[in-house]
């Protein structure tokens, strides 16, 4: 029987716009118009790892996300890399979720779809950047999980060899499947989708679930209400300083810099 791999992706506002981000003074929320959504970049590396494992073992790859209905676009993009099927959970009831509620909702959808041997996600999203969801998904699924993964290779039917990057070195582990892995961007180079795969992406099965389709969802753990963390104020930090220009010849500038360095 072939390995079943699930990949969780997140649809995020394009990071190219983050330096010009605005907060609506009335609603105190981020102004999202003019910010098109893309697949979170670390998640593309999760898809790439799944594709490599598919090529090596004939694994079946399913993509999961929870998003507004437009999230379908990112799922189709994900299918264009060569994945087999995609699933979207989209419902106001699950909206406004923090990482605990998001991971719970994802878990419920994944369990509904079937049993998976391996679940892969990007280590962190570019917008919220908490890096919580993969670990918390592992907890809800009852699977062991590992973050900061920079290498992963199946060494037997039920064991994956994984390297994890720490501040002071690299740990190497054998992990028994099933498990959840959160991968960093340096784990692999993401391929370009082939023309063939792009053409068939739209024809691959894409299932959209509402909350009603998942009666297993416990209302206590979903959406804004089910989120233990609540969002308060939003501020745009101010970092500017009065800057003095150092001018002159390269030698004069070098001298001035060294003087500042000496002063500390």
């Amino acid at each position: 029987m072939s390995l079943k791999i699930g990949v969780c992706i997140k649809s995020v506002p394009n990071p190219e716009h983050y330096d010009r981000i605005e907060i609506d003074p009335e609603t105190k929320t981020i102004v999202r118009k003019n910010m098109p959504c893309v697949i979170n970049s670390a998640d593309k590396h999760a898809i790439e790892l799944a594709m490599q494992l598919k090529e090596a073992t004939g694994a079946e790859v399913s993509i999961f996300t929870m998003a507004p209905p437009q999230g379908k676009e990112q799922l189709v993009s994900a299918l264009a890399y060569g994945a087999d099927a995609a699933y979207l959970l989209s419902d106001r009831k699950v909206g406004g979720a923090d990482t605990l509620a998001t991971s719970y909702s994802l878990c419920t959808m994944i369990k509904k779809v079937g049993q998976f041997d391996l679940i892969i996600a990007g280590n962190e999203s570019e917008d919220g950047a908490t890096a919580h969801v993969p670990s918390q998904l592992g907890e809800w699924m009852g699977m062991t999980h590992m973050a900061d993964v920079i290498h992963a290779e199946l060494i037997s039917e039920d064991t994956i060899n994984v390297s994890k990057e720490f501040e002071n070195g690299y740990g190497n582990y054998n992990i028994k499947l099933p498990c959840v892995l959160a991968v960093k961007k340096n784990i692999n180079e993401v391929r370009y989708p082939t023309v063939m795969n792009m053409l068939v992406a739209n024809k691959k099965p894409l299932t959209v679930f509402s909350a009603e389709d998942l009666p297993e969802l416990d209302e206590n753990f979903i959406g804004l209400e089910g989120s233990p963390t609540k969002a308060g104020e939003l501020i745009t930090p101010e970092y500017s300083r009065d800057s003095k220009s150092i001018e002159g010849s390269s030698e004069e500038i070098a001298e001035a810099i060294l003087e500042l360095v000496m002063k500390g």
């Binding site: 890096a131 999980h145 501040e167 233990p228 800057s243 220009s245 030698e251 500042l260």
Partner: protein, 328 residues
């Protein structure tokens, strides 16, 4: 006003030494509430914890909770989370803090999920007004700081980026109670994770977080020659070298070890010299607390100039050459 509130800090050790972020968390915890008594405690996990307890004691916490177990000899999330969950369920701290390190950033969300409580990630600050605690977290590459509240769940959990809070004065407690805790669940917990080996990184020289002077390279460092000169210059002035992601993209460095910014390290040196750095916010977030900021860039519109104390509009390589000539 609550009078017996308790804040816990996960004490993390690297190569046998307590990590730098511990004192920052302790200092923040001690000074968080203006009024009422706050008990600040440390959690120590390991195979044998005597030496770790001794290190924590020097910082002056009120209580230490220690779990000794052979399964805790090396970090393994499957065992560490069980020990943490047990301690928290037994003693009910009000606030539980972790450093947002590789270990903390994995352990904290696991424990929070098991306790079904809220966790604020990679905080840049924690503040309190009366009893209401606000956790301030960066989002959208640091362009926005959001306030996270955890009103109805305990413990309120947070991970804090090391190097960001800094250490100011705090009262060291002399009254230390040490609780050696048994966690029977550990005996019958099995992990699917088997450690095969650990390869240390080559961390020669002063670590970036401890450096008094940091020279940082950005997109404007385009040639191997300039990169080499920048490193020579740093060595000459006893500075550590940091960089932005573009240096990884160019292949000048291998990994993110000394990358500065929201997804890398936070630094607070006396002098920061940015060379060829545009100043995208995700980088600025990791260095804006430097005491003196000097930036060199040929692009007079570079954003980093606006947050610098001193700016030099020039070719980086020319200035580096002149600097090396002056020193050597």
């Amino acid at each position: 006003m609550k009078d017996n509130r308790e804040i816990w800090i996960f004490a993390e050790f690297k190569d046998g030494r307590i990590t730098k972020g511990f004192e920052e968390l302790l200092c923040k915890s001690r000074n968080l509430f203006e009024r009422g008594a706050t008990v600040v405690s440390a959690v120590v996990l390991g195979n044998s914890t005597e030496d770790q307890i001794a290190q924590v004691k020097e910082y002056g916490v009120d209580k230490i909770y220690a779990v000794e177990h052979t399964k805790l000899i090396d970090y393994n999330c499957d065992y560490y989370k069980v020990a943490m969950e047990h301690l928290i369920r037994k003693h009910n701290p009000d606030i539980m803090l972790f450093g947002a390190t590789v270990i903390g950033a994995e352990l904290a969300p696991s424990v929070a999920a098991r306790l079904r409580t809220g966790l604020a990630a990679h905080c840049v600050d924690i503040t309190a007004e009366e009893e209401e605690v606000s956790f301030w977290v960066p989002a959208f590459g640091g362009n926005v700081i959001g306030e996270i509240l955890i009103p109805d769940h305990t413990p309120q959990m947070a991970s804090v980026k090391p190097g960001i809070l800094g250490v100011s004065e705090y009262v060291k407690s002399e009254c230390i109670e040490i609780f050696k805790e048994e966690v029977p669940e550990l005996d019958h917990t099995e992990s699917a994770v088997e450690l095969i080996g650990f390869t240390p990184k080559d961390n020669s020289g002063v670590s970036l977080e401890d450096a008094k002077i940091v020279v940082c390279a950005g997109r404007g460092v385009t040639s191997e020659e300039t990169w080499k000169k920048l490193n020579e210059f740093a060595t000459e002035i006893h500075a550590s070298v940091g960089y932005t992601r573009s240096l990884i993209d160019r292949g000048f460095v291998e990994d993110e070890t000394n990358m500065i910014g929201t997804s890398g390290k936070s630094i607070t040196p006396d002098v920061y010299i940015g060379i060829g750095i545009s100043g995208a916010t995700h980088h600025v977030c990791g260095m804006n607390k430097s005491k003196t900021i000097i930036s060199i860039n040929k692009d007079s519109k570079a954003k980093l100039f606006g947050i610098s104390d001193y700016k030099v509009v020039a070719q980086s390589e020319d200035i580096l050459t002149a600097l090396l000539e002056k020193i050597q």
